[in-house]
Symmetry: D2
Subunit: 424 residues, 4 copies
């Protein structure tokens, strides 16, 4: 299935007048809306290959239809998203689920869809059919050196795949941890993990980054060996400049102030990037912005402020990725909703009156500071996000167009009803 430019033009034409009215009004409400639109056009959020199929929980999985059956079809799916919103111009692969057979062909296919290869993801939380050693008791932390070596070698292999594809970063998420007190010696688990990470780090090309994700729990339920930002920070400090902390919004203890964590990591030049999603209880992997849109805005508020303070390029200097699961939605519709929520939060953060905020902060005018942030959040910025799409040839309303041209039905026609993508 390809979405043609005709589809998009015809869709946009129908909505154009209403959009333009709204844009004019929005521009009258927001200073520098033109500059914001330009930044929105540049901003791209990578799509993880494993989010293109219906997710599941340990209690079951209700597969949808037309799910991608191969890396090629996954690229095609991200291409569809990118065609619709021009904001999903990258795909993040997961090895071994997405091992390319022919690098050149894959690179060509991605280029045809306007896609780059974002961070490569290794998998040492599952045993593969042909594995010599099991990760039942952890991978990089394992008491058994042979297991650690296998996991290190896998990560290095992932880097190699990434080099061939033009990726420039490796995301390491470790399920390593323990389920019961006494199971691990925490110190030794840390030291084994550090030593393993050092070997992987040494295999990084000079232009690469290593993102070390943290997670408080699951699949281990007593301890995790990279459990919180402080632990990730302590590892990446020891590893070196190319190592950074990756923040997944769903990986925190209840009530954590994620925006403050983001600010401090940025300050210390140790923030690597994001996995966006939303959650209420744990790593629920819900659509970004579906439950706590104000928190998402506050995070972007810190990102914009902190990146600008360091003179960073919003679009390029951090890794932006979705990591969600959507068990009961059409995955592509869900990803469109996630991207939209992220773009809105980013646009809101860009529209904050920074000078006034700084003044309110300097004067301890708490009421005013709150007014400034709430004003940015309450103002409807959707026309700016839509305009960014319009200018870059994408659809004013991606979900609506997706439905009207029956993308899912077409995919089912092409691929069948009973396909099941690799993933969680």
């Amino acid at each position: 299935m390809l979405i043609s430019s005709n589809h998009i033009e015809s869709h946009n034409e129908d909505l154009l007048k209403k959009h333009q009215n709204k844009l004019v009004f929005t521009a009258s409400e927001i200073n520098e809306s033109e500059a914001i639109i330009k930044k929105l056009i540049d901003f791209q959020i990578a799509i993880p290959s494993w989010a293109l199929g219906t997710g599941g929980t340990r209690f079951g999985r209700f597969a949808g239809g037309g799910e991608p059956r191969s890396l090629e079809e996954k690229i095609e799916d991200v291409g569809l998203l990118h065609k619709l919103n021009n904001a999903s111009g990258a795909i993040s692969l997961h090895i071994p689920w997405d091992i390319p057979q022919d690098y050149k062909a894959i690179r060509t296919l991605a280029a045809q869809h306007g896609l780059k290869f974002d961070a490569m993801n290794s998998n040492t939380f599952q045993d593969q059919a042909n594995s010599e050693h099991t990760y039942k008791y952890g991978s990089l932390q394992n008491v058994n050196k042979a297991v650690r070596k296998q996991a290190i070698a896998h990560n290095i292999e992932v880097i190699k795949h990434g080099i061939e594809l033009g990726s420039e970063s490796l995301t390491v998420w470790l399920a390593d941890g323990s389920n019961f007190p006494g199971q691990l010696n925490f110190r030794k688990a840390y030291q084994n993990t550090l030593e393993s990470l050092e070997e992987i780090y040494d295999a990084l090309p000079s232009n690469w980054k290593l993102f070390l994700e943290y997670k408080c729990a699951e699949p281990n339920f007593y301890s995790t060996t990279v459990a919180d930002w402080g632990q990730s920070y302590s590892y990446v400090q020891k590893l070196g400049d190319k190592a950074k902390t990756l923040v997944d919004l769903g990986h925190h203890l209840p009530n954590a102030n994620i925006e403050q964590i983001v600010s401090i990591l940025l300050m210390d030049n140790k923030l690597g990037g994001f996995h966006f999603n939303d959650s209420k209880y744990g790593d629920d992997d819900l659509t970004a912005g579906a439950l706590k849109p104000y928190q998402l805005f506050l995070i972007f508020n810190e990102l914009v402020e902190g990146m600008d303070a360091r003179g960073m390029n919003h679009a390029k200097d951090l890794g932006w990725m979705i990591d969600a699961s959507h068990n009961i939605k059409d995955p592509l519709e869900d990803l469109l909703q996630s991207v939209e929520a992220i773009m809105i939060a980013y646009a809101q953060a860009l529209s904050v009156d920074r000078k006034a905020l700084e003044k309110a902060q300097e004067e301890n005018d708490v009421v005013k500071a709150q007014e400034i942030l709430q004003n940015a959040f309450r103002t409807d910025v959707r026309a700016l996000v839509a305009e960014a799409r319009l200018r870059s040839g994408a659809a004013l309303n991606p979900v609506e167009l997706y439905r009207s041209i029956q993308v899912r039905e077409n995919l089912i026609g092409e691929r069948g009803l009973k396909t099941m993508a690799t993933g969680l």
Copy 2:
């Protein structure tokens, strides 16, 4: 300090053109905006007398200036708020902090400010100077019948004050609970509490309601004797039709789905009313909507849906009250911000396309249902709330007017810098 109609007219005149432009645009975005404005005009949120002074924590209190020194001055403060926003037309008193000396004079004063007397609040969590018995080990739950009798008598006295003032409800919040395992026999504590509540219930006039609040913790840190909605529900079921559960947004365990609780209590005709505030960690008593505005909207979404399903009057059939504390803000500014956030959430909930939502739910169209709610939340409804104020003679921007006519400075001039209101 009185705010004159001239003040308001002059303020509104300056903002009128911009407001009207925005209103026109908003009306083009939202169906039935006129009906929504009318409902907003009718909606009133009671101000608790104890929120008019600067709050504190156990670690200290940083008093502001010009705080009300008497019940009369508290009524004057709420009068100022109501003049500014025409949405704070009631005051909720706390006994013994607000015992009226002359009922008639107080009623007259309140009427001059357009204020009603909302729910009366009893206090059995502190010992008064002249108390015979201590509440150190609880009040209505106490193992000592004499203590229970004292607490019951106090509640009945509060009802009597309320009758004189024209209030029609009693809010019972109990600090009762325990700090250590073994301290309480939970069953006996429950039974003592129920028996005590029955005596108080019997003293209610026929047109009154008893609101039973629940709270998971604080000031007791092991158990609370009315700890969650289920416990409050089990008490009010046993008490009778006049007894209802009161929901304070800050009284839940982490991650509780408050909007679902609201829906179920409404369904069973056991929801009495609300204490609005916001929080991140516990009963933080922050400004309503300051941290989780989407949750506040979702709660109002259930309220509007559930009240309409029962044919209830939004403005009259539930008790609406703020219960916040604001340690570091001007209390009046903070209350204006809370009221604004509540009105916005209510307006957003009124603007939800109910028919479309019902259809999406009937079809299990989860993506669509999310789009409908998010659309209502992302649309800027502030012009509707402002228009409701404009039409009822209040200010387009209450905080701005409050500052420009220097209300706080005037109050300090009248009352002094070192006043301290009763309260927490």
Copy 3:
């Protein structure tokens, strides 16, 4: 694999002297230790059929060897446990995973192992290969009546299987809920669920109970339709006397005071039984007592006190079951550890000096009340639990015996290394 009485006798002989010394000392520390031992002998904890295989998470599963491949082998496994500890004299089946082909043969086999059939469990959270309708959007709550009918019929079929096997209760755990705001109308979901439960309730034999479990989250991550004890309580009240609430220790929001919930449900005659496990973050399904043994003791403290206050039979009047998962342990060893932890907590609760505790409570002597509970908890009661096993022909140290006679190795020999039991 059968464990012979010789195995046990020989094992016990080796440990006997040390045991007897310890027992004598323990009896000198605890009043009425003889009565406690008798109660321990009578106390049986049902084993769920799905806990006999290695569990997993959504991130993967590391299967062990020798897992039971059939209902017969599951009964055999529970028989092994019961032989070892004489405290696991019941099995709880899950339909459709454990549909008996020949009721009589299954009953005979169970009887040979000294096992009863505890509560039957239905499954409406997964689609079966031959299902007409999907539970993707819920079962008893579903907006589609045909789906509800299918789920109701399934539950009634489960009851029928149970009747044939001599079970006397049905446990209903519903995954029903929603992942996104707007997805469900909470009230209608409640009402559909209630209506469905009423049909199931009507199909219960007169001597049966219906246990309605609650759970705050997972597999749905925004709302659950029986989310907390209050919701379960509101359903079972409406259903009738045979309907009771079932408490799973891992199904609560963070920090919930489970022991108080237990006490109140018991008081209102609405407690049905327990699913024991332990957890730190969510429904972690860890070994009972592995993380919070004092909480487990406090729960039993309420159970003993509350059941005695109602004149209930500890062993028979509530349902006692383990519901754990143990992804990385030998399931049988794990179950032995869970049962041991539960028996210890029960023994500790039985040893509480109730008269002294009641006196301390009546006098608000908080320090003393704490001393009494802590004394019971700190005293080593393991000799009483071991003595109960000894007297009933089981092993003094079940895990040790299990290992020394190489049960797992034998099972692998019989069943193979690559078996995988049904379950989560």
Copy 4:
């Protein structure tokens, strides 16, 4: 009030026989019980001066009688505790509540009671009557340099008092943070705090340590400027070798794995010491071990393992202090209970079979590792703790002796019923 050696001898004589029986049995159960007793004798837990009076919450305070009215009486109170348990041989002062008038006299008095001066505590969370600047918007983080200077000067003054008394450490707990999004620029707050800490650090004598406490929330409810161990770690790394992280058990987000944090801080030589207490919901400041005794044991398990791995002296190389509040207990009884719980956890941790545990960990024998820890925890070690007291001239049962010789009644007689100690 003085407790004479006669009191203690007579008390011990009554309990001696039972104690000795129990000790003999315990020694038969635990290897190296003699070595454990010696370590217990050496282990001292500092008592904070502010825990000697009845605490309170923001909702009120129910003062007890006979509370210490001066620094001298606080020392006397700790002397009473130390006489009873010989495990409370240090007092931790809080400035400005405990400013000594005559250093020499105070040192002499403390020495008479066998007490040392543990960490000094500064207070920049409350305004003092004579303060020039307010800490309403923070102290070391404040946007106003003059406020920061005042707070720095105060900390340096506290160091000076400490030098005179022979203390060797400063504990900095900051209430600094924010209540509302936008109030703070997190980065600047961090940088101001760091700069302020550097000035304080520079004023430390060479043999001193600076302990930097962290706390997730309260009294600020949106952000805290030293919010978690990771933030404290990032500050103390930058400050230098004398700066260490202090862990207060009640200062974590729900479900935090504190024992792992302890292990990692120890590994990196950044653990400074502890504030012991227990909690269920937040910083509840309950008696140590009152709710989660297994967690307390697991923390000591890491401490013993980690300190031994570094060759540290258990008694001297970390700071051990209670920080609890006990609103409804006699403070001295409560402190005796806290110390007892801590000593028990320490004794249990000392009794862990480390070689067997290490072997189980090396073999991934999770069941065995759990058995080893649970065995240490379930074994009753109280006789070892009592024996440590007996050998050092203290009471076998401190709470019992405290009550039988009517310490509180004597203190009320000496000091009066309506005294109120400084503190929270």
